[in-house]
Amino acid sequence: MTAILTIVFLPFAASLFILVLSPVLQKVQVGKKLGSAVAFVPFVCLSLIIAWIPELKSGAPAIFNISWVKTYGIELSFLVDGLSILFGILISGIGFFVVIYSVWYLSDKEDKVKFYLYLMMFMGAMLGVVFSNNLFGLFTFWELTSISSFLLIGFWYHKEASRYGATKALVITGLGGIAMLAGFIVLYQITETFDITKILTMGDTIRSSPLYVPALILIFLGCATKSAQFPFHIWLPNAMEAPTPVSAYLHSATMVKAGIFLTARLSPAFSGTAFWTALVAGFGLTTMVVAGVLAIRQTDLKALLAYSTISQLGMIMAMLGFGTQYSGEAAVVHILNHAAFKAALFMVVGIIDHGCGTRDLTYVGNLRKEMPHSYKIAVIGCLSMAGLPIFGGFISKEMFYESTLHMPFAPVPFLIPTVAVLASLFTFAYSFKFLIWGFFYKAPEHPPHHPHEAPMLGLASPVFLALMVILLGLTPGLFSHALLEPAAAAVTGQPADLHLGLWHGINTPLIMSFFTVVLGTVIFMRLKKINAVQDEVSASVPWLSPNFVYNKGFLEGIPLLTRRCLWWFQSGYLKHYLFVIIAFVMASVFMFSVSQGWVLQLDRLFKTEMTLVQGLTVAFLICAATATAVFKNRISAILSLGMTGFLVAFLYVVMGAPDLALTQYLVEAVSVILILLVFYFMPPYFEEKATQNTKAVNIGLSVTVGVVMCFYMLMVMDSHLVQSISQYYLETSEKLAGGRNVVNVVIVDYRGFDTLFEICVFAIAILGIYAMLRLKKKTNTKTREATLK
C-alpha cells in the first residue's frame, strides 16, 4: 500500500514541493543541485518497483483501493502486475537517466524550477497511468500526462514553434482523451464496472456485446492519438520542439507508450476478434509504413527520430493487434528494446545539438572523430533500431516477423509479412541515415560551432542505456523471466514462456531479415533520389498530409469559418436579434400548441361575453395601437401611445378593476411625461429608409406575432377550467386581513412579498438611473481634469 502510493505520488509530492518552494528556489541560484536532488525521486520509485518483482511471481496482482467517487465506482485503485512493473521500470528508470542527463543539458539560464516541476508531474502521471486499476483513475492520470506534456513541450514558450507543438499535442491527444472518456463509459455499460481487473475477466461478455465495436473504436482512438498512430501522428514531430531530455523521455518510454500500454492492458478483454485485428493491426502497420517513408526524408535528426518513434510504435501496435500469444510477447519485448535504444539515441541527438549548435544533417556530419563516445552509442542504438544481430532490436524484429506469419484473420496470405518487411526496409534505411550521414558523411554546410563532445555527466545516461541495449541483445534471458514473462502474461492473459535468443536457426524470419538488410541497403544508397521525389510529391500535393488538415482546417479554417458565420449571425444589430428571438418564440409556441391539438372552436367565439362598452373600448384600443405604430411623427406616436394606455385603463374600468385603472392612468401619464423629458434631448423621427423587402419581412413578422398572440389569447379565453383560488381572498379578506378592497389586500398582505420586491425594483431603477446620469459625468470631469494636468 505505502509502496505503491509512494511510487505514484512521490513525483507529485516532489512537484508540489517544488511549486511551494518555487519563490525561494527562483531567487536562489539552484544550479545543478536541484536536478541532482530530483534524481532521487525516480531512483526511489525505481527501487521500489524493482523490489516488487519477487512478489510478482509468488502471487496474484496486488490491488489497492481508495474510493474517489463511489456513485460511479470511480476509485483510485492500483494494480501491480507484470505489465505495470515493466512500464514502471521504464518510466522511473529512463526517468532517472533523463534527469541525470538534464542536469548536464540544461544551462543555468533555463528555468530549472519549472522544468523539474513539470517533469515530476509528468512522471507521476505516467506512473499513475500504468499502475491504475480503475479506468477513471487511469483516465485522470492520462489527462494529466496530456497537460504536463503540454507544459513540457511548450517549455520554451517564447518560441512560436514550441507553442504550436504543445497545442497540437494537447489538441490531438485531447481529442483521443475525449473519445476515450466516451469509450470507457460505453465499456461501463457493458461491464458495469470501471475496475480493470474485473473488466479483464469479462472478455467474452465484452466481445459479444453489441456495444463492443463502439467501445473499442472510442477507446482505441484514445490510444492511437496518444501513441501517434497515423493519421494522428502529426503532433509528435512538432513535439520535438521540447528540450531534448523531454523528447528522450516522452518519446522513448513514456507518453507515446501510454497508448501502447492501454492497448496492451485491455487486450485480454478486447482482442481475439477480427475487428480488433483489423483495427489495431491495421493502424499499426499503416503507421509503421507511412512513418518509415516519412522518416527517411528527414534531415533534422530529432525529426528523424520522431518519425522513427512513430514507425516503431506502429510496429508494436501491429503486434498487439495480431492478438496471438506470441505477438503479445513480441510486443512486450520490443517495448523494452525500443525504450532503451530510442532514449539513448535522443540523448545523442541532444549531445550533437549541444556540440554543434544544430542537429540538421545539412550542417552536421562526419562526427565520429569529434564525438567518439557519442558515435559509439549511436552505433549501438542505430544497429539495434535497424534490427541487426547481437542487439535487442534484432530479437524483437525477428519476433515481429514470426508473428506476422502466424497472425489470425489474415486477409491475404502473404500480404502482412510483405508489409512488415517493407516497413522494416525503411527502418533500416533511416537508422543508417542517422548513423552514416551523421557520423561518416561530410555535411554540405558547416555547423555553427565546431563540434565537441559532451562531458561525463552528459554521456553517463546514454552510455548506460547503450549498455542496456547490448545486454538486451546478448543476455535477453536476464530480463525475460523476471520482467518480460509476467508482462507478456498480463498482455495475453495466459502464462508466458519466453525463449529469447539471437539464434533460432535458419527460419522464415531470418530470411525476411536478410531481405530487409539487402533491400534496405539499396534504399539507403538511393536515399538522395528518393528524398528528391518525396519533396516533389509533398510540394505538389500538400493536402495529402494530415498536417494540412490540422493547420489549414483546424487552426485556420474553423476560426475563419466561425468568424464568417458569426459575423453573419451575431451581426451586432439589435433589430436582427429581436427579429430572430421573436420569430423563434412565436413559431415554436404556435408549433407546440398546434401539435398538441389546438383547433379553433368558432362556435364558442361568437357567444358574446362582452358588454357593449367593453367592445367599443377594445375597438378604439386597436385603433390607438395601430396609430402608435404607423405615425411618422414621434409626438403623434407618443400621443397615441398615451391614448392606448388610457384606453387600456378604461378597459380596466369596464372590467371591474378600479385600482388597476387608477394605476394605469397615473403610470401612463407619468410615462408620457418621462418620454417627453427624454425626447426633448433627442432628435425627431428620421425617415426610415428601408428596402421593400425589409419592409415586407418586418410587416410579415409583425403580422405573424399578431396572429400567434391572437390565437394564444383565444386559447386563454377558452380555457377556464377550475375555480380560481381567488374565492379564498374574497371570503377571508375582511375577516383575516381587515380590508375590503380585495385587490389592495392581495397586494399588501397575501402577496406582500411581491410588493416588497416591486418597490425594490423601483429603488434599483432609480439608483441605476442616477448612476447613468450622474456618475458618468463625474468621471468625465475627473478624467478631463487629469488630462489637463
Partner: protein
C-alpha cells in the same frame, strides 16, 4: 417662460392634488387606492409644480438627499413592517389589524400593519418618481 395663469392655477390645484393623494393612500385598504396610486399621484402633483415653476427653483443638492432618504426610508419602513410580522406574528410579512375605539371622538378606527406597509410603498414610489423627474428635469 411659464404663463402666470398656469402658475396661479397650479397654486390651487397642486395642494388639492396632494391632499387627494393622501386620501387615496389612507383608504387604499378599503377602497381603490393604496401606496402606488397615491405615490404616483403625488408625483403627478410635483410634475405640475415643475411644469409651472421649473425644477431649478428647487435646489437639487439639498433635495436630492431628501428624496434619496425618502425612498430608502420608505423601503426600510415597509421592510421593517415585514420584520415586525416576523417578530410579533411569527412569519415574515405577517400582517395584523385591530379596531380601536377612539374615546374622544367616539369612533372606531382600524389600525392595520398593512397600512404602514402601504405608507412605505408610498414613500418609495414618491421618492423614486420625484428623483427621476428631478434628475431628468435637470439634464441639460
Amino acid at each position: 417662460m411659464s404663463s402666470i395663469i398656469f402658475k396661479s392655477i397650479v397654486k390651487v390645484v397642486s395642494p388639492i392634488l396632494m391632499l387627494f393623494s393622501v386620501y387615496l393612500l389612507l383608504r387604499g385598504h378599503q377602497l381603490p387606492g393604496g401606496g402606488f396610486i397615491a405615490g404616483l399621484m403625488t408625483s403627478a402633483g410635483l410634475v405640475l409644480i415643475y411644469l409651472a415653476y421649473g425644477c431649478e427653483r428647487f435646489d437639487w443638492r439639498n433635495r436630492s438627499r431628501f428624496f434619496y432618504f425618502l425612498f430608502s426610508g420608505g423601503l426600510a419602513l415597509s421592510f421593517l413592517t415585514g420584520m415586525a410580522g416576523l417578530f410579533v406574528g411569527g412569519f415574515f410579512l405577517k400582517s395584523g389589524f385591530t379596531h380601536m375605539h377612539m374615546p374622544l371622538i367616539n369612533e372606531d378606527w382600524e389600525f392595520a400593519s398593512a397600512a404602514i406597509y402601504d405608507i412605505g410603498v408610498y414613500l418609495v414610489v414618491c421618492g423614486v418618481c420625484v428623483s427621476l423627474m428631478t434628475l431628468l428635469g435637470e439634464e441639460k
